[in-house]
């Protein structure tokens, strides 16, 4: 069994690449493929809370795991998670291709370290390439999300 965004799946090919399974079979296309060799971070998903590169994993690697993709962190009514809202409010989005992976990496960071420094954010997102932003407003967004989450 593999759980994705709260749904359980039982029937799948263990040799199937996780990124392709999510995108092609489950139509969860928010998970992006930028390099397909595990160096750009666009395909990041959360596996039992840890950010992992789905292009480097097969389904046999994630059996009995709980997977959260970018489609799985907003509330069912569409209300955004504070990390997502902070990305919008801080102007951290341009072309958007890195955004799902960035948001999930930031989400995992703030779960572990609710009050990171800017340098800690920089370190946490070092595996996620972004060509548009220079990362400045992405770091602003993560700091803003940390503020909002801690004041809630």
């Amino acid at each position: 069994m593999i759980t994705v965004n709260g749904f359980n799946y039982y029937d799948y090919d263990l040799e199937r690449k996780l990124s392709l399974w999510l995108r092609e079979d489950l139509s969860l296309t928010g998970t992006k493929i930028g390099c397909d060799i595990g160096v750009c971070g666009s395909c990041t998903v959360l596996i039992d809370g840890e950010p992992k590169l789905s292009c480097r994993l097969k389904l046999k690697d994630v059996e009995n795991c709980n997977i959260i993709t970018i489609e799985g962190i907003a509330l069912p009514d569409g209300t955004l998670h504070p990390v997502q809202q902070a990305f919008i409010d801080a102007g951290a989005i341009q072309c958007g291709f890195c955004t799902p992976g960035m948001v999930l990496t930031a989400y995992a960071l703030l779960n572990k370290n609710p009050h990171p420094t800017r340098q800690e954010v920089r370190l946490a997102i070092r595996g996620n390439l972004c060509r548009c932003t220079g990362y400045q407003q992405i770091i602003d967004a993560v700091m803003l999300a940390a503020d909002r989450l801690s004041s809630n």
């Binding site: 969860l28 072309c95 990362y135």
Partner: protein, 744 residues
Amino acid sequence: MEKAFRNDAYAKVTGQAIYTDDLKLHDMLYAVPVYSEMPRAKLISLDGSAALKQSGVVAIITAKDIPGNIRYGQIIKDYPVLVDEDINSTGDVLALIVAQTREQAITAVPFIKIELQPLKPILDPEEAMKPDAEILHPFHCSNLTNYHRVRRGDVATAEKEADLIIEEEFSTSRVEHSYLEPESAICHLRSDGVMEVFGSMQHPFSTRRFVASTLGVELKDVEVKPLTCGGGFGGKDDTAALVCARAALCAWILKKPVKITYSREWSMRESYKRHPYKMQYRMGLNKEGQILSVKARIVADGGAYCSVTPWVTWRSTVQSCGCYEVSNVETDVYGVYTNNVFCGAMRGFGSPQINFAIEQLVEIAAEKLGMDEITFRRKNIVKQGSTTITGQVLDNHIVSLTQVLDAVLKESDYENKRKLCSLGNLNQKEWYGIGLAISYRGVSLGAEGTDVNSAILYVQPDGSVLLETSVFENGQGAESAMILIASEQLGLPLERIRYRMPSTSNIPDGGSTVASRGTIMGGGAVINASIILKQIITETIQKITGKSVAYFKDSKLLDSSDNLIMSWDEAIKLCYDNQVYPYAFGVFQPPQISWNEETGQGNAYFTWVYGCQAVELKVDSQTGAVELLNMIAAHDIGKVINPYALKGQYYGGMAMGAGYALFENCPCENGLVVPTNFHNYHPPRSINLPEMKAIFIENPDPISPSGAKGIGEPANEIMAPAIANAIYHATGKRYHSLPIRIKI
């Protein structure tokens, strides 16, 4: 806090934004390219029979299947959509394999049997320029794609009068755009006979021309609908269009939807790059620190195909002396065919190379004259009313070089920190340096192309508004800027305006969304459409009620004494009730410009922007490792439209400039691009970059209806020389080649 505005932010932050590869059509097939292993050869034979027998393979498509033109190009029609005979690059596609899945098509690639007759490639542009060099494209009769020049004054006489002549050579690297979304296209033949194209691109109209040419159909028979674009930076034009043309060809032949999505490896191998330049400069100066003359010879390796090399190198020609007044100039700029990967548009478009040379050259000159680099710059920069090296008088807008320079000097505390620079002090373990660079830049296409743009404002019966323009969303926030401008003009909240999904069949071609021209051109068209729309509404109200509308504000129409005449919604209902369409088509056409190719003189651009960037860094004196400490930019952008998006352009531009300076290089070996993916090509990561600061300088431009100019490229064109200057101030060594590799 003030929040950022982007119309596409919710979709992008939830993963709902549809990029081309996210879309599936019923019964869709998948095609993949088969590349040449040689940089120059004759294609003797291609046998697809074994590949065709592989599981899932539906067809092998070759040049023989092309119903229209095999070759196409924006300037010279030299690029084969599929190779028929002559191979000029390892990025050439010899065939397409179409299968039921992408994986099946990829699996079949090794089963294609290809026979090539190797020819000796030309890999060095200097070799290609020799009189006895073989002509790579016989129909073009020359290995030069173009030759541009500037001739002004008398360099020989000026050099005789000079107290100092310096000569320096610089070279820059080939750079990959590294948009995170690789090329992707889906094409299908609609039941009305139209080839419908979904794809990721910067210029859907250019794609439409490529597709129509390949299929041999008219422009009306191709409709291009760009989907969310995962970054462009100038790179999603020719190659993006070629991918669409190939998918369209497969769909045309097989009568089924066909998707082509590139792997990063294919994208790196085939897609065009920023041109590597070799630049030889000779500068004559007097001892008072005035630049008397510049003589420059600049050679751009255009690679196997022309693309927009003549336009890229034209900007280099016009801006060949940087933002300095020089009375005596001889500049010769050559775009050259070789068998390397082809080069084309990339953010900066011929200016990052020039600025890397000039902004170091002026500091070398200043030092030799015993002047500080800021005083030297102040003496020579263009000022209000100055004449450029092409004879253009800068008098129709505010020339703000001093303003941007002063802003950066103050914010960075440059003059104090400059005294702390290490200059390679052997007693220091870490060397400290600060450096800066300045530039001016002609806005939009200049004499490179036809500059016009249009917008449609279509008010619906309930008062909501559909807006479209012929600028396109590359990720920079073009749509949001257009909505903000329309909202201000019409006095409506942002949420009442929707940017309509663009299509080439609905609005005229407004040129490519490149050249930092989106906001000035599209924004100008939105304002002109708003003026027409408001006139339609005002005249209707005048006719029906006798009242004169003076203002559109807060969803209300007011008279000249600020009295309410009626609400926006009531006004729109009145229009429809009286059989008047609140629909406007607006055009923005900037003033004509001029260029004389023989003399290299003319009013090259209708207006100019000014910028300055500075950087502080540390160099490890043992290893040579560079650590960036901070980066600052000030640009005169005319007028701020969307502050967060504007900052994003500053930061992203500086980051890309830092990559150019320190990390990025695409060498070719035997014509083949050496880096294949992001493990051996290195756009900057978060840990490579410092904190950045953006300073907005606003001098609204009289020619721009919105007052705004542009920022995409100015932000990207001067960080590399700023870093080179800072490295000199840290190490005491000049680096003349990119990327900079510090030798200890």
